[in-house]
Amino acid sequence: MTTLDPHSHPGKGAATRWMQYVHGHHWRSQAEEFDGCKLGFWLFLTTEVLLFGGIFCAYAIFRTLYPQAWAEGSHALNWKIGAFNTAVLLISSYTMAASIYAIQTNQQKRAQLNLIVTFLCGLLFVGIKFALEYVPKWSGYFLVWDPALHHHTASIIEGKTALFGLFQYVDGYGGKRPGALFDHPFAVDPHVPLWWAVYYCGTAIHAAHVLIGMALIARVYFKSRNGDYGPTYYAGVEITGLYWHLVDLIWIFLFPLLYLVH
């Protein structure tokens, strides 16, 4: 670990707006400001953890009350998708951290590349979640490229497709919805709708956080292209990174709870 000397990296190229950065007038120094921003953001992260705390609490309570329903619901999820998505998020967390490293060492192009990869990973995560999990479970329509589709060959209703043939309807698969919206014909335990309520609330709020994180990453990407960040000023990237890691952190718990622990 090295502590950075802010004067050892003269700006390379034109994008050196970061060198002109002047900290807020009410801060005693830029280092103080950076520290303060981080402290503030960590405080914000604690609120995020406790926000999900509600979901975790509901999960824990109802799992203990209705273990059969939880087992049944968990079995309806495909652990492969969950594991793949976990890997995607972990990799994106790495690239996010790597982009901070690159900024700290003033490797602007590398930083931007890492940000792009992080953004794409987020997109992949949400895309998979939406196209391979939400849509089929909710409606019974499978993406035609979904590898899970071949398990359901006999239940496919030919010709019943949606969105220009991109989605194929499988009879009796959909309807796994929360609460009163529940319409899955093969459920056994009466409390399965409750499981789907917790599943959808947990993962949807998480997915919303992924989207917010992606927006933040897009923002720092464009600011970075503008030369706003460099070795002495990168608070924006740093807190975006913290947010992104928290999203990852939540998923690290959601994944085994929803997909594995049955």
């Binding site: 009410h26 995020e48 609460g179």
Partner: protein, 679 residues
């Protein structure tokens, strides 16, 4: 960072045309201006909530909502209820059957008949028999009349009675032009009003009141900082507050919600099924939570990072300590209400069932979610008030606060314990095990609170006490808060709580704590810092008179409610048995006194703003840093960053800033003693 040109003038100084002024205020990142905007927004919501409170109190003047009195005004006509035998005048008998026959007979005019009641015709009374259409029944061309052999019952009369009086108690429906409202409709209006009162007062007034207004203005100044840590975030949190309030007002304009401010499921998830009002109100609380989180977060970072040189943690004014502690609670507890309200919205919109027993969910789980936030937030409400009391008390008795560290740590202690006592709101709905655990933990909170009160009162000892309006409010606070705190004991005690839970005793208790505590502290702080905030003095005499009226009005309003509670009056009742009427009426009179008191206060403040005497820089002789600044402070608070050389309460050894040492002759023995203490 634009917009930070150094102005030497006051932060209130006008900058140009009305329009530029409005834009300047709307886009300001100056913590003082944001604090002032918060102050007026909160006072406006306090006004709205107060209107609702008065409406609720006026409605309760009459015990019952509607008591229609019918009196006999002619021959009574009513269907018979049981088969009976009539003996006609000529000795024949006639069988009457329910559903076929009505009878007509006379009673004395003016006899009272209860609406909807069946009637009894004594044997021997002369009656005429009618068919169900009301035509006299004729047998063999002769109308049937005679007397019953035994007493006979009839359904409520269809004719022969008139409404002689409609006892009022339908105040609110009448105000809204619904003179023919049914009991249920009338009750419903009442329910919407008390919900409006509770929701506004909790979410929009008491939670943000002190931290967001006085805290915003004075926390940075007391720390010697130029601003809060994140000024733009501060402005954002004000706008979020306004947005949340707009959501709430929209729901109120659509005639409001009838859930109570606690939104207990399954009532809140099933009431008002075809409307969005509940969702709007819930979203309002959800949005206001964000505002609260951002404010708390901002203050915590400010305290950690922006203290003036020389100001260690234990050199901070106790107000700062208290706001800091409440910030911790805001940050840790508010997200849980966020997810709770979000789930409640999902419950209403998508029927997800987590809190709905009909779908396998659990309504008491909602209560746990709700109180995990809402109990700690009680301390968000009261801690800053306690901070104000500590500061104002010390300044106006020019006495070092007794047990500084004990007060500071008890703030943190209260913040910590507040997270493990929420179950005492649910003794009658929880498992017995949980009730016992929560009751034991609840008593823990009493200890740091008691310590604070002891410290405050000890501070008076050998002080130099000036009975200014802020100090009068401090004494009022100590009086009312002691009652509020002590009446918490029977509520935390399991056996007595089973009687008092959800009764008016609880209503009185939390009003003593919330209003007698927080609002009285707010009034103390408002008067204490008014000269600093606006550079004008207020009329001391009228302010003190108003304070005394508020004090009397408050006790008349709420002490009676303790008696109501122990005698068995449940809360949230639109009507009640007559025996509670007198106490309710006394309470209503008290609430009107309170109204008078607050109106005088408003006039005093208005007079001060328009024609008040210019305030000196340090009218009370305070030692904390805000008294170093101008009145009102300049845009950046201080000309130079202040360096802290004395403690916030070293009155016995320090001449207050801007005071002439001649007016403050420090006894030599004080200095000697301080020297001795230092060694």
């Amino acid at each position: 960072m634009s917009g930070h040109e150094h102005h030497h003038g006051s932060y209130l100084t006008s900058k140009g045309s009305l329009f530029t002024n409005i834009v300047d205020w709307a886009t300001t990142v100056d913590h003082k201006k944001i604090g002032v905007m918060y102050l007026f927004a909160i006072l406006f919501m306090f006004f709205l909530g107060g209107i609702a409170a008065i409406a609720v109190r006026l409605e309760l003047v009459h015990p019952v909502r509607e008591k229609v009195v019918l009196t006999v005004s002619g021959p009574l006509v009513a269907p018979v209820m049981n088969p009976s035998t009539l003996t006609t005048g000529d000795g024949r008998t006639f069988e009457l059957e329910p559903g076929k026959h009505m009878v007509r007979w006379t009673e004395k005019d003016g006899t009272e008949v209860r609406q909807g009641d069946t009637l009894t015709i004594p044997a021997g009374k002369k009656v005429e028999v009618l068919d169900m259409k009301g035509k006299p029944l004729a047998v063999d061309g002769k109308e049937v009349s005679g007397t019953f052999a035994a007493e006979t019952r009839t359904a409520p009369p269809t004719a022969g009675v008139k409404v002689t009086s409609v006892v009022s108690g339908q105040l609110l429906p009448k105000v809204f032009g619904k003179t023919d409202a049914s009991i249920a409709e009338g009750n419903n209006i009442y329910n919407r009003f008390f919900t409006m009162h509770g929701a506004i007062m909790v979410f929009m007034v008491i939670v943000p009141s002190i931290p967001a207004s006085l805290g915003n203005i004075f926390l940075p100044i007391m720390l010697g900082a130029k601003d809060v840590a994140f000024p733009r975030l501060n402005l954002l949190s004000w706008y979020i507050y306004v947005l949340g309030s707009i959501f709430a007002v929209v729901s109120l304009l659509a005639t409001g919600v009838d859930t109570g401010w606690t939104f207990y499921t399954p009532y809140s998830s099933t009431t008002d099924p075809h409307h969005w009002r509940v969702v709007f109100m819930v979203l309002a609380a959800f949005i206001l939570g964000f505002s609260s989180i951002l404010t708390g977060l901002n203050f915590i970072v400010t305290v950690h990072k922006l203290r003036a040189p020389g100001m260690g943690w234990f050199d901070m004014p106790l107000f700062v300590w208290a706001v800091y502690s409440s910030g911790v609670i805001q940050v840790l507890a508010t997200p849980v209400i966020g997810i709770t309200l979000l789930l409640l919205v999902f419950e209403r919109v998508f029927d997800i069932g987590i809190f709905d027993p009909a779908k396998g969910g659990d309504p008491v789980l909602y209560q746990h979610f709700f109180w995990f936030y809402s109990h700690p937030v009680v301390y968000v409400m009261i801690l800053p008030g306690m901070g104000i009391i500590s500061d104002v008390l010390a300044v106006h008795s020019q006495k070092k606060i007794f047990g500084y560290r004990a007060i500071a740590f008890s703030s943190l202690g209260i913040a910590g314990v507040s997270f493990i006592v929420w179950g005492h709101h649910m003794f009658s709905s929880m498992s017995e095990v949980a009730s016992t655990v929560f009751s034991a933990l609840t008593f823990l909170v009493a200890i740091p609170t008691a310590i604070k009160v002891f410290n405050w009162i000890s501070t008076l000892y050998k002080g130099s006490i000036a009975l200014t309006t802020p100090m009068v409010y401090v004494l009022i606070f100590l009086f009312l808060f002691s009652i509020g705190g002590l009446t918490g004991l029977p509520l935390g005690t399991l056996s007595t709580d089973l009687h008092l839970h959800d009764s008016y005793f609880v209503v009185a208790h939390f009003h003593y704590v919330m209003m007698g505590g927080t609002i009285m502290a707010l009034m103390a702080g408002l008067h204490h810092w008014w000269p600093k905030m606006f550079g004008k003095m207020y009329n001391e005499r009228w302010a003190t008179i108003a304070a005394l009226i508020v004090f009397v009005g408050f006790n008349v309003t709420f002490f009676t409610q303790f008696f109501l509670g122990t005698r068995g009056m449940p809360r949230r009742y639109a009507s009640y048995p007559d025996e509670f009427a007198i106490l309710h009426q006394v309470s209503t009179v008290g609430s009107l006194l309170l109204l008078v008191g607050f109106v005088i206060h408003a006039l005093v403040f208005a007079q001060s703003l328009m024609a008040g005497r210019k305030a000196p820089k340090n009218p009370w002789g305070g030692l904390t840093l805000e008294w170093l600044a101008d009145s009102p402070p300049s845009e950046h608070n201080f000309d130079h960053e202040p360096i802290v050389t004395h403690g916030p309460y070293d009155f016995d050894t320090t001449v207050p800033p801007h005071w002439d040492p001649k007016d403050y002759p420090i006894p030599a023995e004080n200095l000697a003693r301080a020297k001795a203490d230092a060694h």
